[in-house]
Symmetry: none
Subunit: 193 residues, 4 copies
DNA sequence: GATGAATGAGACTTCATTCAT
DNA sequence: CATGAATGAAGTCTCATTCAT
């Protein structure tokens, strides 16, 4: 590896460390309660150096949203390997239920981010949080459409809405079984369509 | 009315004004982005005076939660007048849909509060936000139970979860029709039980 | 003195202390090199408390400009007592020369402020610095007009311009005699009109 | 051209580009509001590379002063070609008036630099700004001396002082006509001597 | 020589909370 | 009881300067 490539790689690594740390810490503590120092510490980067990679705190939030989008794409990408769209949706639900402990402790990363960003007077970042959710909606609707089910958009809305609702309740009640119970119901519902 | 009683009344009025203002502003701006000064201004109470009624900002958050509980009780109390529990639940859904514009702009007051408080490391207030949601769950489960439906707690979970989910999505997508579409589906679902 | 009046007076005093300190320190160190802490220390006020009186640093700069305007008004007000406008102008020049040590060390308060504020991209405060100078121009022109001299505005421009020039040179050369020499010349010039 | 000479030339070019950029940007934005990055960008030199040519920001300021001195020498050198010293001085004034738009927008480069540097506690650079002004004073005095006029130093002081004054006022009032009006007066004044 | 990256001190500003009257 | 004023801790952000390659 050349020096130049090495340098660039190290820099990219740091940027990536910061992005990952931001996604993690912002999910855990929320946007407003998280300080740049928190993220810097988690990424093991000096605070002053954060600004070399991200000019504002908001850009770090944006990076976290992008990270969540990437996670989502990774998941749906893996599910796309399954031949049956219904199985893909069941896999999605299974993934949600598998994350029940995290959901109970911190809620859905994207959903809680959207809630916080929605409180802002200036609508800069909330639209971007909404875009991530819409991405999930779109993928889900595509599966329902492939299944030739009527009103696939409404079905997608119902499914994603259920996910956000159960995550919020699991979190509010600090009860991961909410995810299991609702997850089971959603699986049955899918089979009934 | 005696002077003393008069004084107490005036004091209560101020307390009430502060509580109402807290509920309103905290819903609109979120807990972390709201300053005591914001609430004081909205309640038309001098900042320095707030501390006579509420020793900390958290107590104002608590008061807002109590206010939301009162609103909920008012609603369920009115619905209890209806003879048929199914009609009561339909009335609940109708109320949710009626609040679609607010939901699209700010989300569910209790739900968004629970999300924000859930991010705190110290579990001081998040339990109380959960309690308000549980109160709704309990009332809803009671209706299902009266209807002699099986697993009334799960049905309640599904219904309230759907409400939180559709509120979050309406908010994240800034789209009040989410409330209408999901509301219609829930009404049909109720009839199918 | 009542309690209320007392309280208000003390607050005003603090505000006045801050304004005076700002005028002094900003003149000495310049706008950009002066920190809020510098002004706070000079006024013997805790840094955090400064913001109770002035919401931004720029407001403090504005206050300093107002202070300089007040000083100017005081001076011209005193000179207005003189019956002969020519004597008033001579008094003005005498005041300038009297301040030669300060001028040599720090330049003209308003002039140097105008220079610094003029460098700003956003034209917020530079106009206000210009206004103070224009006030001096106006008063000076009024004297020339009363003397029935032709083109009083140009004469005023020449006189004030000379003042700013000699202050700048005295400051740049660290030489108070610049003020004396140019002051003498201006007095002769006045008599020659 | 040898490699070594080539390298040196390229390096000199960079140094020259930085010097010119410093003179320009420092004049426009002022010393304190200008960052090294600003100058580096304007000179199209990587930030990290600036320190190879200038060890500190102050050295860049010094270089800008040198650049202004060079400009001044160029101007006076050209004027020296004129046989009549009075014409040289008139040419100087004409040059000032020709730069009226710049003066109105940014003031005299040397004068405003002197003002800012004069605010420093440590007398490091302010003397050098004064030196540039003194250079102009000296050249001007030489012309008056050649004209056999009495007190040539005082006449020079008056002329340069007038220039700085009119530049400052043009700048503070954002009015280039100040330069024209005062320029005309100075030309008449020259003829009257 | 050249350069992207790193660093840390310090600036401005906000705000929950307390105080003095 | 009421309230303008006070306080200090903490947060975001900037930037001259240095470092590693």
């Amino acid at each position: 590896m050349t020096n130049s490539a090495n340098r660039q790689t190290r820099a990219s690594q740091k940027r990536q460390r910061l992005t990952a740390a931001a996604a993690r810490v912002l999910h855990e503590q929320g946007v407003e309660r998280t300080t740049l120092a928190d993220i810097a510490r988690e990424a093991d980067v000096p605070v002053g150096n954060v600004y070399y990679y991200f000019k504002t705190k908001d850009e770090l939030v944006r990076a976290a949203l992008t990270e969540h989008t990437a996670h989502l794409d990774e998941l749906t990408g893996a599910l796309d390997e399954l031949p049956d769209p219904r199985d893909r949706l069941k896999g999605l639900i299974a993934a949600w239920v598998a994350g029940r402990e995290t959901a109970a402790r911190r809620g859905c990363p994207t959903g809680t981010l959207a809630v916080e960003l929605g409180k802002r007077a200036d609508g800069t970042l909330d639209a971007e949080a909404g875009a991530v959710i819409r991405r999930l909606l779109d993928w889900t609707a595509a599966q329902f459409r492939t299944l030739n089910l009527p009103a696939p958009d409404d079905l997608a809305l119902t499914l994603v809405s259920a996910y956000q609702g159960m995550s919020l309740l699991a979190n509010a009640l600090r009860d991961p079984t909410v995810m299991t119970r609702e997850g089971d119901r959603l699986l049955h519902w899918l089979d009934s369509l």
